[in-house]
Amino acid sequence: MERYNIMSMPTQIISPDISGYYGDYGGMFIPEILRTTFEKLISSFKEAKADPEFWQSYVNVMQNYSCRPTPITPLENFAKSLDGRFQVFCKREDLNHTGAHKANNVMGQGLLVQRMGKQRVIAETGAGQHGVATATMAAKMGFECTIYMGSVDVERQRPNVFWMEQLGAEVISVTEGTATLKDAINAAMRDWAESMETTHYVLGTTCGPHPFPEMVSWFQSIIGHESREQMLKLNSKLPDRIYACVGGGSNASGIFLPFLEDQSVELVGVEAGGHGIDSGKHAARFSGGTVGIAQGYKTYFFQDDEGQMQHTHSIAAGLDYIGVSPILSHLHDKKRIRFTYSTDEEVISATKLLIRTEGIIPALESAHAFASVIEEARDIPDGAQVLINLSGRGDKDIFNIAEAIGDHKWQEFLEKKARKS
């Protein structure tokens, strides 16, 4: 496939107001101690954003280090298995270095860290993808690196922990709270409150206090800018629908935002339905959440009637989070993006189908978007063109997928391995 070069700076499709709000959502609910650090970050980012050379250096790094532009793959077999009335394409973010769209954000923030002259980076991670991506960036750019990860996630994602440590990062297992992504964020914020002079906090998604949602979505929007150009070149028209999974919202913001003004393009965000909405064990904030303020920003949270955050659940650690991007909350209320969810069970069968029909192993996170296309296939018009953001590859999920599928040969292998050591 032809390589597409994005040399010119993209325009920001949606910008926050001066206080960091998108409509009613966002803001900066931070302890006073972090104020000056955030203000410095806001001005550094603003300068970088206005500098065409900065964007150029970002594009160069992404081309030379992370396989950008990532291709669009037509999924003919997958479409055929859904009765073939419409076409399906996917944006191959799984082909990024380290295997997910997370690379876009960390390399961008890494360049910003160089600009700011700091020597250490810290990050939170859920699935471990953002942790591995940050540790990789730190190794490449020569920064010290500490990764905070909930102990539950450390259990679920041991291979990623292994690689982070090999990459030279210190991985701190966070046992407080629910010991998942939100607790890792709290721990990283605490580290930052003491280390801000030398350290940058590489937040992994389009959440948190301003300017993180703006900054992360700016870097991630490279996905949508490329997709837009590629789909036009491929089909001489824009896609009719775009599906993306939504945890914090970075891959979804990345692919959606450059299409915001294209009213003909329906944007569908797919949250984690877990065991189903009625079970209460899920992470579908737009289906079971209410507006609140936590972790530095205002958005839809999965919380009780007194504002205490509740346990979320998803088979995909990367979607297992209490909050969602304030940008997406705003676009949800404006009805520009439609939100739905897929359950764990639907996600497993979508994963199997994509592997069998296309030879592509999706991350369980990304598989939510595919599951939703399968679920909605009946309602997709004849001849429509559907674009799915394949945000990451699924190799990391081998333990979870094998367990969910109930592969006894894998189980035997694990037992044998365990006995040996």
């Binding site: 609910f29 972090l34 709270g177 709290n186 801000m196 936590a294």
Partner: protein, 258 residues
């Protein structure tokens, strides 16, 4: 008599005042009451009652655990305000509500202020609510005659410090160091400088918090700050030595006011 007047009156009696802290529901509501009784007997000057929150982002490990365990113990708003009411009726010290902003937001700012007033509180501290985000909370707290306590830190720019101090009410909460609660504070020239700076912009009493633990810390602050805030150090003592140790620690701090 408003809070500032009360504090100034107390300052005629002591060189520095003592503000202590309780995480409501940790270790239990019964133990909270024993802590409050000890505070009453030590004639503590001011007490902050913390409503636990699931994401206590400005707290250190000890208080994070306390917040989490209190919620696991099932503490809800009603338990919190019941305790506030009993304590305000039983003890002489004024009580401040301390909570994260989602508690006030979920309750609604108006209900939040009237609840504090009805249950005998005198003001509130919300560590993750910068003044830009107060909105109508300033006006609502004035209506209920509550003091919103402002926090300032050594990392604030001169201009912001001035801004915060101008919006201050009751007293100014000066965070003695970078970082979160429960760490050691080196009371060196930095803290002195910082307090002098705050003094430039505010006539209100200055409270120094975060990381103070022993009588010596209070002695060092005589003449520099008006209030010493002791939080995690006392909770640590409760956990290690129980009520007798706690009372002894509290008494030694109360004595260090003069």
């Amino acid at each position: 008599m408003n809070l500032t007047e009360y504090l100034n009156k107390r300052l005629k009696k002591h060189k520095i005042l003592l503000m202590t802290h309780v995480v409501v529901g940790y270790p239990s509501l019964e133990e909270n009451w024993k802590m409050l009784e000890a505070m009453g007997e030590a004639d503590v000057d001011l007490v902050e009652l913390q409503m636990p929150f699931s994401e206590p982002s400005a707290d250190g490990p000890l208080f994070v655990k306390a917040n989490q365990d209190a919620l696991r113990n099932g503490v809800r708003w009603k338990d919190y305000f019941d305790l506030m009411k009993s304590a305000s009726e039983r003890f002489n010290f004024p009580i401040l509500m301390m909570n994260y902003c989602n508690t006030a937001f979920s309750m609604g700012f108006e209900a939040y202020c009237s609840n504090i007033r009805i249950h005998g509180g005198e003001g509130f501290i919300i560590p993750d609510l910068p003044f830009e985000e107060f909105g109508e909370l300033f006006e609502l707290s004035r209506d209920q005659e509550l003091d919103p306590i402002m926090l300032c830190t050594p990392t604030n720019t001169e201009k912001r410090l001035q801004n915060i101090c101008e919006k201050g009410s009751g007293f100014i909460y000066c965070v003695a160091r970078k970082g979160v609660t429960g760490q050691n504070t080196e009371l060196d020239w930095h803290a002195d400088d910082f307090l002098r700076q705050c003094r430039k912009y505010s006539n209100l009493p200055l409270a120094l918090g975060f990381g103070l633990s022993k009588p010596e810390d209070l002695f060092q602050l005589h003449g520099k700050a008006e209030i010493a805030i002791i939080g995690s150090a006392l909770l640590k003592t409760w956990e290690a030595e129980g009520e007798p140790g706690y009372r002894k620690h509290l008494m030694s701090l109360a004595d260090a006011r003069d």
